[in-house]
């Protein structure tokens, strides 16, 4: 069964496979990682069956290895994402993503009266509750909950 799903997206020689992305957030992940503006070969699949997640998405980026800081930016919208680092068709390392203590420039503040929703200001939040993923705005000091996350 698992093998079947993997076959829907072709294997890569060198690069990174990001698996277990919630299908609904695939394009947000692509945006956050800037994959829409790089020239590497990228294949992705979405609405793949997943026993654990229902529908998942997967991205394979050839010849690209992400820094932890970079890849952790997707943790907010793809908390269960798993990374496989591939060299010569072999998985040489597996990684999970982790939400950073400070979340910069990824989500919008939920407070319509926050100055970041009025002017061009890079949003900045402190993670005040890791378990429930609650973010506190550095500017207006109000909290934004996961159900209200909108990607900048």
């Amino acid at each position: 069964m698992e093998l079947n799903k993997e076959l829907k997206v072709s294997a890569i020689k060198d690069g990174t496979v990001i698996d277990h992305i919630p299908a609904d957030n695939l394009f947000k992940v692509i945006n956050i990682l800037g994959l829409h503006s790089i020239t590497n070969q990228i294949t992705f699949g979405t609405n793949l069956e997943s026993l654990r997640m229902g529908r998942k998405a997967i991205i394979k980026v050839s010849d690209k290895y992400f820094e932890d800081d970079e890849i952790n930016k997707i943790a907010l919208i793809a908390p269960q994402a798993k990374l496989n680092i591939i060299k010569d068709y072999v998985v040489i390392e597996k990684k999970v993503v982790e939400i950073q203590d400070e979340v910069i420039g990824i989500v919008k503040c939920f407070n319509p009266k926050c100055i970041t929703n009025q002017e061009h200001i890079v949003t900045r939040f402190q993670l005040v509750d890791r378990e429930n993923v609650v973010l506190k705005c550095h500017y207006c000091e109000k909290v934004t909950m996961p159900e209200h996350f909108t990607i900048v």
Binding site: H120, Y139, C140, K142
Partner: protein
């Protein structure tokens, strides 16, 4: 404290808060000190606020400084579409300090990050108004002789009231006991209750005055605003339950003082005004001395 912005009450440590409170007493004893000779303070009020603006500007004048600025955004370049960022950077080229009131929350924090001079937040929307909190603390210290171990009853809109939230955070340094008295619709948000629990600070919640008035050292009144209620009927039901009348103070402690950030509408009956326990007008006067203490500390002249 020199060169530091004051945006949120949490920007100041316990010692810094105590320093401001002590300094405010010095200024009250000697209110005309020309410490700001040659200094220019920008007073940027993007929304009108008579009391806070006049209090700050009086403080600056008593310190011998000069004031430039505007008292509502219609007389600033905001009407031409200038961003807060640009206005702030411009003004910080002219002045030694910026005092700012702005309708959007987080505006003062942002301004403090783009300004080359310190920024004092004189209110950013419903978020923070730290000079109000510091003058509240000065009023408490002055009337009680201490900030430690006091019983503080806070009444009214505990959900949206920014002065209430900042007061709670500032007083948390001093081992208080809190009583929160409000309609259920406007009760203290969980995040502040968690804050208090984490610091082992005692609090009780009430939906009516009851006996708590007689235990309190400070009775901090706030306005219950009609527009906070989704249903006008709900407001009508609770509005009279949170009005303080003179007779209700008959068995209160001798040292009790009634505070209110003002403006008052009807939540304190006028028959309280002549009671010696009514302190809200002196409280407002303390604002000038407290702001003198804040400004002179930040400019490093005291």
């Amino acid at each position: 404290m020199k060169g530091k912005s004051l945006v949120s009450i949490t920007d100041f440590s316990k010692n810094e808060i105590l320093r401001i409170v002590d300094l405010a007493a010095d200024f009250e004893a000697n209110p005309n000190q020309k410490l700001l000779d040659g200094k220019v303070v920008a007073s940027l009020f993007f929304e009108p606020s008579t009391r806070t603006r006049l209090s700050f500007e009086t403080a600056i004048n008593r310190l011998g400084g000069r004031v430039v600025g505007f008292s509502d955004s219609s007389s600033s370049s905001t009407t031409k579409g200038e961003t807060l960022k640009d206005t702030t950077i411009m003004v910080s080229n002219y002045a030694d300090l910026i005092v700012m009131r702005h309708p959007y929350e987080g505006s003062a924090r942002f301004a403090s990050e783009v300004s080359s001079v310190p920024v004092i937040n004189a209110g950013d929307g419903a978020n923070q108004h730290p000079s109000q909190t510091l003058l509240d603390l000065y009023s408490i210290k002055k009337t009680q002789g201490t900030l430690n171990n006091l019983t503080i009853a806070i009444v009214g809109d505990l959900k949206y009231g920014r002065t209430v939230h900042s007061l709670l955070m500032a007083m948390s340094h001093f081992n208080p006991v809190f009583h929160f008295i409000s309609p259920i619709e406007l009760k203290m948000p969980d995040e502040y209750k968690i804050f208090l629990k984490n610091r082992n600070i005692k609090f009780e919640e009430h939906i009516e005055f009851g006996e708590t008035i007689n235990e309190a050292d400070i009775l901090y009144m706030t306005r219950v605003q009609k527009e906070r209620f989704a249903e006008p009927m709900e407001y009508e039901k609770v509005k009279n339950a949170f009005i303080l009348k003179n007779a209700m103070l008959s068995r209160s402690k001798d040292n009790l003082k009634v505070l209110h950030p003002l403006p008052r509408v009807n939540e304190i009956h006028e028959d309280v005004d002549n009671n010696l326990k009514a302190y809200y007008f002196q409280q407002a006067k303390n604002g000038v001395f407290t702001r003198m203490a804040i400004i002179s500390s930040i400019l490093g002249v005291k």
